[in-house]
């Protein structure tokens, strides 16, 4: 996973509440069993004029010349709600999005982001509207947990310690967990002794 330290970019505003993963990538755009080839389907229902087509809708934010190479999105509340499909995050990452700033994220989506090098930054709605109105670049500093603007304001944000560490260092969660292999095995052994019915093949006669 690509580590994230700091990023300065002009954020693309998509200030709607409840942007769902069907909109971020509709299932009709998930044509392969892999994690790639998804960027073209990103925001397909809003980005293109016709379903399945590729004729850009000039009104959609990512089709405007100044936002075509967006790396930061500004979103509304409950961003990424709906289906757990990780394809939504893979499509965002493949397109080049490295961070999303929103008043709140759906939990599965936020977790998918941190597994794929995208920083979910939570700021209050008024601040996000202020950033969008300024039409100026912001710098996200993950180590400092701040979003700031050149010569202007600086807003702190909260992020879980583990999510932060994984994003900063590009850590692999499985490698991290397997450091506790012995503790996991010990737990499972004790649990199997006390709750054998939970384990397949030991449900009694």
């Amino acid at each position: 996973m690509k580590p994230f330290t700091t990023l300065t970019a002009l954020p693309a505003p998509l200030l709607l509440d409840n942007i769902d993963t069907d909109t971020i990538i509709p299932s009709r755009e998930m044509k392969s069993t892999g994690k790639t080839g998804l960027a073209g389907g990103l925001f397909a229902p809003w980005r293109y004029r016709t379903p399945g087509g590729r004729d850009p809708d000039p009104d959609f934010v990512l089709n405007r010349p100044d936002h075509a190479d967006a790396q930061i999105l500004l979103g509304g509340g409950n961003f990424g709600c709906g289906s757990s499909r990780e394809h939504a995050v893979w499509a965002l990452a493949e397109y080049g999005i490295r961070a999303i700033i929103a008043p709140g994220f759906a939990p599965i989506f936020a977790s998918n982001c941190t597994r794929n090098g995208i920083v979910p930054v939570t700021l209050d709605r008024a601040t996000i509207e202020e950033i969008a109105a300024s039409h100026a670049p912001v710098t996200i500093d993950l180590a400092a947990q701040t979003v700031r603007q050149e010569g202007g304001a600086c807003w702190p944000f909260d992020i879980g310690a583990e999510a932060k560490a994984m994003l900063l260092e590009g850590l692999d969660a499985i490698d991290l967990t397997l450091k506790n292999r012995a503790e996991i095995a010990a737990f499972q052994q004790a649990d199997q002794a006390s709750r054998p019915w939970i384990y397949l093949g030991d449900i009694g006669q």
């Binding site: 409840n18 044509k31 709600c81 709906g82 990780e86 397997l178 499972q188 019915w197």
Partner: protein, 398 residues
């Protein structure tokens, strides 16, 4: 196999969804190679995962259950900690037997009082989401309690917990009780004999203590709930069937849905009706819809589908003659699967169609390009199909 499969009778691996057949065959060979049990397309136990897992006794009280599907919280109805995850977390769980997560905060949602006739668990959960918002449960594991919950059967409890994810909660759960234990007895993967007795002793300790404190408390009087129907593009955009689109709604949802501020929901003409999904595709859902459809017919021009949540549900419904009631009423009677709850480039309704649907999501394009989805209970879907417009099932039942 549930999302990708065709639901037309006589199905095999072929599906109208682009890339769907490759997904099915690749999943089958990967499962075989890894030694994982697969409930395949033609398996008699095939169905939507959140329907077949309880049917087979795979979910048990006190177990931790995950699946890369947001509606995994359905199975919290059994007093399990059950929630949906992404693909990377599924990989992590299979590789390590664990997940890394932050402990959620706790919320208790208490439904006091009893719902009136024709008011279902679907209406209860839509009421919660409409009152507290689609993000209202964010960061919480939610326990549903109260006399209205105690009174629900297991299938109703599953409907309620199913939409905890639409509330943005990590999960929804209900304390296991004697109904839960009776339901599980004799199921294929559930404990038996002396092992069952041992398990029961453990399960009876799982309920929250009477004095338990929660980080957040919500109370809803179930007696005030009406059959609910959505008007917009989020489940929070829902009102009682006698209600109307808000006078000052956000602009984008009403433009997409083609409704007006202040417009009454009842009476809006529909093009199609869908009964099925992990929310409302179980036997009791089909029975309640069939009770309204018996001896009646869907309105001219309305396309109607009934899609059982599992092949076991389909067989049980057929044994009671429900299939004949549905087909006589003008419904298509399908094989089980997720079907048109979502659109993957396969089957859909004509663009612009207005669909009343017993599913869980009314997002833009969820059921197909430009489809306008109104989510509601199976009863409301059946009553609306007959009327040809959004209709109150309680009027039909009289």
């Amino acid at each position: 196999m549930d999302h990708i499969v065709d639901t037309r009778p006589g199905r095999g691996d072929q599906t109208l969804m682009p890339g769907g057949q490759a997904f099915i065959t690749e999943t089958r060979s990967a499962a075989r190679e890894a030694g994982i049990t697969l409930f395949d397309v033609t398996d008699p136990d095939q169905g939507i995962v959140h329907v077949i897992s309880p049917e087979l006794g795979i979910v048990l009280p006190g177990c931790t259950l995950i699946a890369p599907d947001s509606h995994s919280c359905t199975q919290g109805a059994f007093g399990a900690l059950a929630w949906g995850i992404g693909s990377s977390e599924a990989e992590h769980a299979m590789a390590t037997g664990t997940l890394r997560m932050v402990r959620p905060r706790t919320m208790r949602v208490r439904f006091t009082g009893m719902p009136g006739p024709g008011v279902t668990p679907k209406d209860m959960i839509l009421t919660l989401i409409a009152r507290y918002g689609a993000g209202g449960g964010k960061g919480y594991a939610v326990e549903f309690t109260g006399e209205a919950i105690d009174a629900l059967d297991m299938e109703g409890r599953m409907t309620l917990c199913n939409m905890a994810t639409e509330f943005s909660a990590m999960t929804g759960m209900i304390a296991p009780d004697e109904k839960t234990f009776r339901w599980l007895r004799g199921r294929r993967y559930a404990p038996r004999g002396a092992m069952l007795e041992r398990a029961l002793a453990d399960w009876r300790t799982l309920a929250s203590d009477p004095g338990a404190r929660f980080d957040s408390e919500v109370e809803i009087d179930a007696a005030t709930i009406e059959p609910m129907v959505s008007w917009g593009t989020s489940p929070e955009h829902s009102v009682g069937i006698s209600g109307q689109v808000p006078d000052d709604p956000p602009e984008r949802p009403i433009r997409y849905m083609g409704v007006q501020p202040g417009q009454k929901l009842a009476g809006i003409p529909i093009d199609a009706a869908f009964i099925g999904s992990c929310t409302n595709g179980r036997l009791s859902d089909l029975r309640r819809a069939a009770a309204l459809l018996k001896g009646r017919h869907v309105a001219p021009g309305v396309r109607a589908l009934a899609v059982p949540g599992s092949m076991a549900v389909r067989r049980a419904a057929e044994a009671e003659g429900l299939d004949a009631i549905f087909t006589d009423a003008g419904f298509e009677w399908r094989m089980s699967g997720c079907s048109m709850c979502f659109y993957a480039g396969g089957e859909s309704f004509p663009a612009g169609s207005r669909v009343i649907s017993s599913t869980n999501r009314n997002f833009e394009g969820r059921q197909g390009p430009a489809i306008r989805t109104h989510i509601a209970s199976p009863e409301t879907v059946a009553a609306s199909a007959i009327a040809g417009h959004i209709a109150d099932p309680r009027e039909l039942a009289q």
